[in-house]
Structures are given as C-alpha cells and as structure tokens.
Symmetry: C2
DNA sequence: GTATTTCTGTTGCAAAAGCAACAATTTTTC
DNA sequence: GAAAAATTGTTGCTTTTGCAACAGAAATAC
C-alpha cells in the first residue's frame, strides 16, 4: 500500500504501545481469520502472503484480495452483506499482528500512541482499500478474458514501472482472481503469446507492445 | 447508506456551518463532476438520482455506482488508478452540496461543527463505501448473467425486506451495471420468467422462489 | 398532440468462454 | 530422492454470451 504516513512506525506503535495486540504465526494453507462473525479484528500482515477468498454455492472460488507484507485486513474493512463465507488463507508462512478493538471509530480510553495514530490515519488506510477495490471492479467489469488479463498485466507493469514483472500468484489462482475458467484463460494467454503481445517465462510476464 | 450517526443532522451542519459549501442544481443528463483531475471535491446528493459511469476504450459503458438521496461521492472516495474517465451523470434533476476541502484528513483550522462531524465520521462514511464496493465485486465476480441478475435481485430484495421491489434504473442501465450485453441479459431474464423464478411487470420484479 | 428519441423485447448467427479430461512438468512432502 | 500433490498446458465439445439488426412501446421534446 502507498500511504503518506510511515507504515513501519505505525506497526512499531502497534506492536509496542497497545496491550491488546497479539502476534501470531501461521503456516502455509492455514486459515488466518474468517469474516463470518463480528470478531472486531484489525490485522496487519508483517510478512508472508495471504489471500482473501470466497467460495460460492457452485463451489467456485474467488480470490477477493491478495495481501503481502504491510497489507492490512480484517472485517473492519468488510461489512458482510451476503451469506457467503470469506476466509483469509495463508499462502506462505505468515506473521500477523491482530488487534481486537472495541470500537475502532471512537478514541481509545487509554489514549495510547497506537490508538492516536490509528484514528488519525484510519481514513487514509480505508481509502487505500477503496482504491484497491475500485481497481478490482474495473478489472472484473471488463467484458473479455483478454481484456482482464491485459488490464491486470498493465496494473502490475505500472506498479513496478517496468514491462517485465512477476505474477504474485499461480496461474490457477490468477484465474480465480479474474473470476474466469482456468483453461479458457490459458488458451487466451496462448493467443496473446502467439500474437506477440506478451512474452512469458516461468511466472515472469513481459509486455511487448508500445 | 446505513450509518450509525444522523445523516440529516450531518447535512444540516454541512449546509449551515461551513462557509466553503456550495449548493448546486443539475438538470437530467448534466455532468455533475468528473474524477479526472484532483479537485478535492466531497459531494452529498440531497435529492435526485445520479450514476458514476466509466467509458472504456471499446466504448463500453460501465455504471460503477448508482446514487440516490443522501449518498455521498467525490474523488476523496476514488483515487484514480487508470486513465479511464469517470463521470457522475445526473439521471434526474439533482440538488448537490459540494465542499471543496484543502485536506479532508486533517482537522479544519476554523474548528467548525461540520469539520468536527466530518472528521469524527469519515471512517464510517468511507467504510460504508467499502461495503458497497464489496457488494459490487461480489456481483461482478459471478460467472454467468443469470447469477448476476439473481444476485442483484437478492440484494434489492433484502434491502427492501420484500420479494417485490422496483429496479432503480432502466434495463439498459442494469446491463451496464452488471457489465453484460443488454440483449443477452434480456434473453436470460426471459428464461428466468419462463422458468417461474421471477415475475416482472414494468420495473417491478418479484422473486418467486422460497 | 405529434415527432423524435429512448427503452424494451426478440432473433439468427458468430465468437467467446466454460467444462471435462488428460499428459507433462514442477513443487512439496516425508 | 521417491512418491504424492499441485500446477501448467492442451484440446474437443457444449453452452453461454455478444453482436447486429429490427419492431413495437413508452417516454420526452417541442
């Protein structure tokens, strides 16, 4: 995430100054948290990778968000509207800071430094989520698999300021993230390679146009 | 929007207590604002209906959000990630309160009541946006037109606590909102009627199952 | 109150995407 | 380092969706 305040200092405050913080480790494939019940959790991923996933009634999996170091999650960002189960799954070994808050909107009674920083910066934290979600909506609104793939590649490309970049997850997961059939996506990727629009080796993609 | 604080009082504060507020009227089809340049706008729709729309390079229109009375918009909620143009279009006569802020994250120097309420409630305001966006993502992630239609109908149904409800916009616009071809959507709607899953008369839909 | 525009509804055909199944490769596990 | 599991890559076939075009109904403009 791109924030104007210092996220590392924020995490230090979080770790050192608030007695309600837990630090937990999760192994690959463990469930870090669910968004079913209101647990009032606010989490920071200190290291590792994790996905927020949803399984619908047809058994289709959707990767709603992908988290890496310093990303923030928890149902404070996610008021549940439907009965679909939302899980945060560790994709690698993860170190997570978990804060159980009573009511994050209002100021802490203890007036600790963490709470001060949090309430100062909460709008910005949430706005950065909004940006991510809007990006996601823009991708999902695209009408074809080709446009979704190229749209996603463009985002990664401009994020890294380079035409060559690594995919943050497997092609299987990418299909779940773009909400399309994997084999259809592979076929489209093959066409993109054949037409000389992208190059691919391993999980590295290079955009060849303009 | 469903907020724990009183939105009407908030609007009164906004209108009466802050000298930086403009009240403007827009006729149907007028552009209320664009999200291209940073204008630092925060807007409240006092009356009428408006859509946040995006036109992509292929000429496809997407209705990103639909606003009705008391909804809040402006690029404070929307950090632009791509070069796509975002417009807020009045769908009927609209009354809009526009506040040009210097920096909405920090406290106002004047210490006026509006700014106080705003900074107190900004996290909740933005979180309500997050909820809407997540609902949208869930809809767009559905794999078929049928699931998108039924998913949207379910949202309207549970929002109104009734199996019969009106569509907030035309079928043409609904197709743009669900990001599908209009004629394909009409066909699917026909099948849903033929199979006795929904009933439709005018812009009223009734869910017939369970 | 007539003309014009927008919206609804429909259809045939073409293109895209999904599904299922399987082999080859890579990664993980023990 | 062998076995198991996951991922990648491919293909034939089916289903769904998009596109284009048009007619009738409804809404809007003048």
């Amino acid at each position: 995430m791109n924030l104007s305040f210092n996220i590392d200092n924020f995490i230090k405050d979080f770790e050192n100054n608030c007695n309600k913080v837990q630090k937990k480790f999760f192994a690959k494939n463990e469930i870090i948290t669910t968004y079913i019940e209101k647990r009032n959790q606010f989490c920071i991923l200190k290291s590792g990778n994790a996905d927020l996933v949803r399984y619908d009634l047809n058994g289709n999996k959707t990767i709603v968000e992908h988290f890496s170091a310093n990303d923030i999650f928890g149902e404070v960002f996610y008021t549940i509207t439907t009965n679909n189960e939302l899980l945060v799954e560790a994709k690698s070994k993860c170190e997570v800071l978990i804060y159980i808050y009573d009511d994050i909107h209002y100021k802490c009674k203890n007036n600790c430094k963490f709470h001060h920083t949090l309430s100062e910066n909460l709008p910005e934290l949430i706005l950065s989520k909004v940006t991510q979600l809007n990006m996601r909506i823009e991708l999902l609104a695209k009408r074809s698999i080709r446009d979704k793939l190229l749209g996603y590649f463009n985002i990664l490309s401009s994020r890294n300021l380079t035409k060559t970049f690594s995919l943050p997850f497997s092609l299987t997961d990418l299909a779940d993230y773009l909400s399309v059939d994997r084999s259809a996506m592979m076929r489209e990727l093959k066409y993109l390679k054949e037409e000389g629009i992208v190059k691919k080796s391993g999980n590295k993609i290079t955009l060849l146009y303009k």
